[in-house]
C-alpha cells in the first residue's frame, strides 16, 4: 500500500521525518518496501481553459485549439479525444521541460498550423500513467495557476502489509498505529461529522435478506449532485496512489476507501426499483454486467446488491466486489444512494475469486473491514460529496444491522515476561493497549480482560495481546539467551551427505533438477507415466511431477552434449503412488578426458566398476542380475542388488531414448535411498600363502560369468578363497557362439600350507564339474 507523506501529516501533526518514519513503521510490523519520490507537475505548466476548437482540414484527428490562461491566449494543435471547448486542462508553453517525456516543449508547425505549446495528458504532466486524453480539472480551478504549486510532489512510502493487519490497509490505519507508538493525538477525518439520523425518513428502503453476508449496512441519499472532474487536490491524492481520477462522485468513494479503509458504492437512485436496495444471495445462473463490461453468471452463494424489478428482483452489484454497469454513476446522475456496508470476508473472497474480479474493495473486505466503520465512513463520503460535487446529503440514513463489539481476551500481564523475556510495567502495558484502542479491565489480581477495538481482527488469544504490547514496546528489547535443554540429537544422515561426498569424490558432479516435468518428457525418457498432476502448473512443460530421477540428468547431459564427457548424480524425490527418495547417476562420453594422452571412454564395465567401488567404500555387497527396464538397452541392463536387496536398475540407455536426446552411449542408474553402509568387520590378516591355479572354460556365450563362477565355487571345495576372471575371449580357434572365460583361483588353508597334490585334487573336481556341465576346458 502506498502512503503519501503529506497525506499522513493530515492525521498526525508532528510527524517524524521520512527516515525516522521508516524505522518506526518497520518496528511496528508495517514493513516498508520502498520509499520513492512522486514528482508532481513540472514548473511552467499551468491551468488553461479551451476557449474554442476547430478541425484542422489537413488532418482527420487533429484540432486547432485556442486556450486561455486568464491573461493571454495561445493557439495550439492537439489530437486528444476529449478536446472540447470549455475544458479546463494543463498547458505547457514553449520552453517547458517535461521530465516524464524527457523533452522541452517547442513552438512548431504541425499540419501547416503554428502550435504554441502543448496540452497535457496526466502522463505527459508526469502525475499519473493515464495517457488516453487530456487531464481535466474542475470548474472552480483558477485559470493561470502554476500547476507545480497546485500539484506538488511528495514522498511515497510503500508498505508491504501482512494479511492479518486488515486494520492498516488505509491512511487512517497506518496513522492509528503510528499515533499509538508515538503517543500523540490522531486527527480522524470523520470525527464530529453528521452521520445522518436513522429516524428521519429518506424515502429509501434497505432490505438485507442475508444478515450473515452483511452484518452492517447503511444507505444514504445525496441529491443535487453535479458530476464532473474532481478538484485538483482530490485528483492529486488519487493519482499519487496510482488511481485514475474518474469523476467527483467515484473519486470520493475511492478516496474514502484509501483514507479510512472503507469501500463504498454510489448507486444512481434512478436505477432503483421502488427506491429499494436489497442484499441477497444470487439466483443460480443470474446474470450481471459489472463495471468494465464483464458479464458474470452468478451462483447461489454470491452475495448481490439488488433492486426490485418487473421480474422480481434484479442484481445491480456484486456485494463488496464491484457495482453493476448500468446502475452506477453516469454523467447526468444527480441523486445517488450511497452504500457503505460491511460484508462477510469469506463470502466476498469466494465471489471475487470465482469471477476473477479483484478490486480494491474486495481486497479490503476479504481481509476484514472495521464492522463499526460504515456510519463514520458514510458521513465522511457525504461530506466530501457536498464539498466537491455540490451534493445535498439527506438528513436521514437507512441502517440495517450494526456491530456490538468484540469478545474480551483474558490476559495476564506477566505473560509478556514469560514469552518475551523482558519486563514491561503493567501500567505501561495498559497504556499501550489503550492507545491501540483496546478496553482494559482488571478482573482479578494479575488478570485483565482486554477488549480489542472493532478494527482489530487479529486479537483473539492471550499471545496476540502479548504481541501487541511487545510490538509497541519494541522488539529491540528482546534479549539473546540460550536455553538449557536435555536433548541429544541422534547421529543420522537424513540428507545423505556421506553418499553425496563419496560420489563427488568418485568423479560425479551433483545436479539439482526440477520436480516438475511434462508428460512428453517422461514419455521421451521412457519413464513411468505421471501419477501426480498439477492443477495450476506454470506451463505444460512443468505440469506433472517426475516419476523418475534420471530424466533430469538426461536433460542435463543433453544440455552439456558438447562436452567430451559428462558424469552426473542427483539425490531427489520422485512421485509415484508414493513419494520416494532416489539417487540417479549418469555417465556418457569420456570418463578420462583426452589430454596429450588418450583418455578413456565410459562403457558399461567402467560404470559398473564405479558403483562397485562405491559399494566397497560403504562395505556393502553389490551384484547385478540381468533385468529389463523400458529405458535401458535390453541386453545391457540389470537390477542392482545392494547388500542382497534390490534397490534399482542400471545399464546402458536404450539407443532410441538416447537418440531423442541427441546423445550417444549413455549409462544410467537409479537407486533407492538410503544405500545402507555396512559396519566395519575386522578379520585377522591370513598367515598362510595362497596357492594359485588358472583355468579357462569354454562355454556357450549366453552362460553368464556368474553361472560359471557358481559352478566352479561349488566344486572347488571349502579352501577356495577367491575366483576372479582374468581373460574373456571369443573368436578363432573357439567355435562360433562360444567363448573362453579364464579364471584365476586362490586356495588357502588357514592353519598350514597346502601341498601341490592337494590343490591338484581340488582342481580335478573343478574340471570334472565343468565337463559334467557340458563345457570344455581350454588347454
Amino acid at each position: 500500500m502506498l502512503v503519501p507523506y503529506s497525506w499522513l501529516q493530515e492525521f498526525i501533526a508532528e510527524l517524524p521525518d521520512v527516515h525516522e518514519l521508516g524505522d518506526l513503521l518497520n518496528g511496528l510490523g508495517l514493513a516498508v518496501e520502498e520509499v520513492t519520490e512522486y514528482p508532481g507537475a513540472p514548473a511552467g505548466t499551468r491551468v488553461v481553459r479551451i476557449e474554442e476548437i476547430s478541425r484542422i482540414p489537413e488532418s482527420d484527428h487533429l484540432w486547432l485549439a485556442t486556450v486561455s490562461d486568464g491573461e493571454s491566449t495561445h493557439q495550439l494543435v492537439t489530437g486528444a479525444p476529449n478536446t472540447r471547448a470549455g475544458l479546463l486542462t494543463a498547458f505547457a508553453p514553449p520552453g517547458t521541460y517535461l521530465p516524464s517525456l524527457g523533452v522541452t516543449v517547442e513552438a512548431k508547425e504541425m499540419a501547416g498550423v503554428e502550435s504554441q505549446g502543448m496540452l497535457l495528458s496526466p502522463r505527459e504532466l508526469g502525475v499519473h500513467e493515464y495517457a488516453g486524453g487530456l487531464i481535466e480539472f474542475s470548474a472552480d480551478t483558477a485559470l493561470g495557476t502554476e500547476l507545480s504549486e497546485l500539484w506538488p510532489g511528495d514522498t511515497l512510502i510503500e508498505l508491504e502489509l501482512t494479511p492479518n493487519r486488515a486494520d492498516a490497509f488505509s491512511l487512517l490505519g497506518v496513522a492509528r498505529d503510528l499515533a499509538a507508538k508515538l503517543d500523540v493525538p490522531l486527527r480522524h477525518p470523520a470525527a464530529g461529522l453528521d452521520q445522518g439520523d436513522p429516524s428521519v425518513e429518506d424515502g429509501l428502503r434497505v432490505d438485507v435478506q442475508d444478515r450473515q453476508g452483511s452484518g452492517h449496512f447503511t444507505l444514504r441519499r445525496v441529491d443535487d449532485l453535479q458530476v464532473g472532474p474532481s478538484p485538483v487536490w482530490l485528483q492529486r491524492k488519487l493519482s499519487m496512489l496510482g488511481l485514475r481520477p474518474r469523476n467527483n462522485v467515484v473519486d470520493v468513494t475511492n478516496l474514502v476507501t484509501f483514507e479510512l479503509g472503507q469501500p463504498s458504492h454510489a448507486y444512481d437512485v434512478r436505477a432503483l426499483g421502488e427506491d429499494t436496495i436489497q442484499v441477497r444471495r444470487a439466483r443460480e445462473g443470474e446474470r450481471l454486467v459489472v463495471l468494465g463490461g464483464d458479464e458474470l453468471e452468478l451462483q447461489a452463494s454470491d452475495l448481490v446488491i439488488a433492486t426490485p424489478a418487473l421480474d422480481g428482483s434484479r442484481a445491480i452489484g456484486l456485494a463488496g466486489v464491484m457495482g453493476g454497469e448500468h446502475y452506477s454513476v453516469e454523467e447526468d446522475t444527480t441523486s445517488v444512494a450511497l452504500e457503505v456496508a460491511w460484508f462477510d470476508p469469506v463470502s466476498v473472497r469466494k465471489t471475487a475469486k470465482r469471477h476473477g474480479q479483484h478490486t480494491d474493495a474486495h481486497y479490503r473486505f476479504e481481509r476484514g473491514v472495521d464492522p463499526a466503520l460504515p456510519p463514520l465512513a458514510s458521513a465522511r463520503a457525504v461530506q466530501l460529496l457536498a464539498q466537491v460535487a455540490g451534493g445535498k446529503p439527506h438528513p436521514g440514513i437507512s441502517v440495517a444491522g450494526g456491530f456490538s463489539g468484540r469478545p474480551p481476551v483474558r490476559y495476564r500481564p506477566e505473560r509478556v515476561h514469560f514469552l518475551m523475556d523482558f519486563d514491561v510495567e503493567p501500567t505501561l502495558q495498559a497504556s499501550y493497549l489503550e492507545r491501540l484502542g483496546c478496553k482494559v479491565v482488571t478482573v482479578e489480581e494479575g488478570v485483565w480482560e482486554v477488549t480489542p477495538p472493532s478494527w482489530r481482527f487479529d486479537m483473539s488469544i492471550e499471545e496476540d495481546v502479548v504481541e501487541e504490547v511487545a510490538r509497541l514496546h519494541g522488539y529491540e528489547h528482546i534479549g539473546e539467551t540460550v536455553p538449557v535443554m536435555h536433548f541429544v540429537p541422534p547421529a543420522t544422515d537424513a540428507t545423505h551427505r556421506k553418499l553425496r561426498e563419496q560420489l563427488a569424490g568418485l568423479g560425479f558432479q551433483e545436479a539439482i533438477s526440477y520436480v516438475f516435468t511434462s508428460r512428453a518428457e517422461l514419455e521421451r525418457s521412457a519413464a513411468p507415466p505421471p501419477v501426480v498432476e498439477l492443477a495450476n502448473p506454470q506451463g505444460a512443460e512443468k505440469s506433472v511431477l517426475r516419476t523418475a530421477l534420471y530424466p533430469g540428468l538426461l536433460q542435463a547431459a543433453a544440455l552439456n552434449r558438447k562436452r567430451p564427457g559428462v558424469a552426473l548424480f542427483e539425490v531427489g524425490r520422485i512421485f509415484l503412488e508414493e513419494e520416494l527418495e532416489r539417487l540417479a547417476l549418469l555417465v556418457t562420453g569420456n570418463w578420462w578426458t583426452d589430454t596429450w594422452q588418450r583418455g578413456r571412454q565410459a562403457d558399461f564395465y567402467l560404470f559398473k566398476g564405479l558403483l562397485e567401488s562405491l559399494a566397497r567404500r560403504r562395505n556393502a555387497t553389490f551384484e547385478l542380475v540381468p533385468a529389463q527396464e523400458p529405458h535401458l538397452h535390453p541386453g545391457i541392463s540389470a537390477q542392482v542388488l545392494w547388500n542382497g536387496e534390490p534397490v534399482g536398475s542400471m545399464g546402458k540407455l536404450h539407443p532410441t531414448v538416447a537418440r531423442s536426446y541427441e546423445l550417444k552411449d549413455v549409462y544410467v542408474a537409479q537407486l533407492a535411498l538410503p544405500l545402507e553402509a555396512g559396519t566395519i568387520r575386522y578379520r585377522d590378516i591370513p598367515r598362510q600363502q595362497y596357492n594359485e591355479r588358472d583355468l579357462a572354460i569354454v562355454a556357450p556365450r549366453d552362460v553368464s560369468y556368474a553361472a560359471l563362477r557358481e559352478l566352479v565355487s561349488g566344486a572347488a571345495g571349502e579352501l577356495l578363497v577367491s575366483v576372479e576372471p582374468f581373460d574373456v575371449y571369443e573368436g578363432a580357434p573357439i567355435e562360433e557362439g562360444r567363448r573362453s572365460v579364464a579364471l584365476r583361483l586362490h586356495f588357502r588353508h588357514e592353519e598350514r600350507s597346502l601341498r601341490d597334490e592337494e590343490v591338484d585334487g581340488f582342481m580335478e573336481s573343478v574340471v570334472a564339474a565343468v565337463r559334467e556341465a557340458g563345457f570344455t576346458i581350454r588347454e
Binding site: E463, I512, L534, W592
Partner: protein
C-alpha cells in the same frame, strides 16, 4: 706390475671390463694368485717378506676394483636418472573431477552449524496435504494468508509444500519435547519466475520446543547461527511480522558484511516467532513453549558469490556447476 694393474683398473669403462681385470689379477689363474703359488719355491726367510708384499698388492688391487665399481655404478645411476626425466609441465591424465552442488554445500555448512549447536536434522515429504501445509499450521480456511503462499495444487487436492513448516507438525506428532530440530528441503511457490524468483527453491526450518522457551531464546539461536556463519560482530534484528503458525511473529535480519561490496548491512533472511498455541493444539502438546524460524537457502548461495540468476542453480549447465568448487 702394480702400476700397470692400477692403471688398467682406473681405465676400466664398465663393470664387465672391471670383472675381467679382477679375473686377470685375482682369479684362480690370475697373476697375483700365480705369484702367491710361486712363493712356495722361495726359501723360508725370503718367502715371508715376498708374501707380505704380494698380499699387500692383492689388497691394493681389490680395493681399487671396489672403488672403481662404485664409481661406475654411480655414473650408471646418474645416466639412468637423466634418461628417465620427464617434462613435469605437461598436464596429467584427464581424471574426472566431481563435486557437490553449491546449494548442497551451503546447506551442509548450515547443517554443520546446527549439528554443533545440538540440533537433529530431519527431512520430509515435498508433496503435502492441505492439513500439514496449512490447516495444522493455523492457516484459516478461505483466508488471504493462503494466497500469499502461491500454492501449486495437484489435481487430486494435494499440494507441493510452500514451506518446510509442515515438518514442524510431522515431527511433533512423533516426538516428545524437549528437542531442537532443523529441516532442510525443497519448497515450491507458484510465482513468476525471474532472476531472483524460482518456482522451486530450498528452505531451512528450525524448531525448538521445551518447557519454557522464550523469544530471547529465539533471538539467541539466530545470533548463534549468524556468528557461526559470518563470524563475530554480527547482530540480529527482529521486526514484527505475521505468519499464522507463530505468535508473536517476526521477520529477522542479520547485520553482516556483504562479501562482495564489503559494506555492513542488514541481510533480511526469513521469518520466525513463538510456536502458535493452535499448532501445539493440533499435535496435542500442552504446557510447553517453542520457537521456529525459517529462511531461504538460495539467497545465501546467490549473494556471497555474485551469482546473477537463481535459475542457473537448476539449469545443470556444467560451466556453472563446475564453478561451485572449493569451500563455502
Amino acid at each position: 706390475m702394480r702400476e700397470k694393474a692400477l692403471e688398467e683398473i682406473r681405465n676400466a669403462s664398465d663393470l664387465q671390463a672391471l670383472q675381467e681385470l679382477r679375473v686377470r689379477y685375482l682369479g684362480k689363474k690370475g697373476e697375483i694368485t700365480q705369484r702367491l703359488k710361486s712363493l712356495a719355491q722361495l726359501p723360508p726367510d725370503e718367502r715371508r717378506e715376498a708374501g707380505k708384499e704380494i698380499n699387500q698388492l692383492k689388497t691394493e688391487i681389490d680395493t681399487a676394483i671396489g672403488e672403481r665399481r662404485e664409481a661406475i655404478e654411480q655414473a650408471q645411476l646418474q645416466a639412468r636418472l637423466e634418461r628417465e626425466s620427464l617434462d613435469v609441465t605437461l598436464p596429467g591424465v584427464g581424471v574426472p573431477t566431481g563435486g557437490l552442488h553449491l546449494l548442497t554445500k551451503v546447506t551442509n555448512k548450515l547443517l554443520d552449524v546446527f549439528n554443533s549447536l545440538g540440533y537433529e536434522v530431519v527431512t520430509g515429504p515435498e508433496l503435502e496435504t492441505d492439513h500439514y501445509n496449512f490447516g495444522a499450521l493455523n492457516f484459516p480456511d478461505e483466508h488471504p494468508a493462503r494466497d500469499e503462499q502461491d500454492t501449486f495444487w495437484t489435481t487430486d487436492g494435494r499440494l507441493l509444500r510452500t514451506h518446510t513448516s509442515p515438518m514442524q507438525v510431522r515431527y511433533m506428532e512423533s516426538r516428545k519435547p524437549p528437542f531442537k530440530v532443523v529441516v532442510p528441503g525443497k519448497v515450491f511457490r507458484n510465482e513468476a519466475v525471474d532472476a531472483t524468483h524460482e518456482a522451486q527453491f530450498h528452505q531451512l526450518e528450525a524448531l525448538v520446543v521445551g518447557e519454557r522457551i522464550t523469544m530471547a531464546d529465539l533471538k539467541g539461536a539466530i545470533e548463534e547461527m549468524a556468528t557461526a556463519l559470518f563470524g563475530e560482530g554480527t547482530k540480529t534484528r527482529l521486526q514484527p511480522a505475521y505468519f499464522p503458525f507463530v505468535e508473536p511473529g517476526a521477520e529477522f535480519a542479520i547485520w553482516w558484511q556483504h562479501p562482495r561490496t564489503g559494506e555492513y548491512e542488514w541481510l533480511e533472511l526469513g521469518g520466525c516467532g513463538m510456536v502458535h498455541p493452535e499448532v501445539f493444539k493440533a499435535v496435542g502438546y500442552e504446557g510447553v513453549t517453542g520457537f521456529a524460524f525459517g529462511f531461504g537457502i538460495e539467497r545465501l548461495a546467490l549473494i556471497p558469490y555474485g551469482i546473477p540468476d537463481i535459475r542457473s542453480f537448476y539449469a545443470s549447465d556444467l560451466r556453472a556447476l563446475e564453478q561451485y568448487r572449493g569451500e563455502v
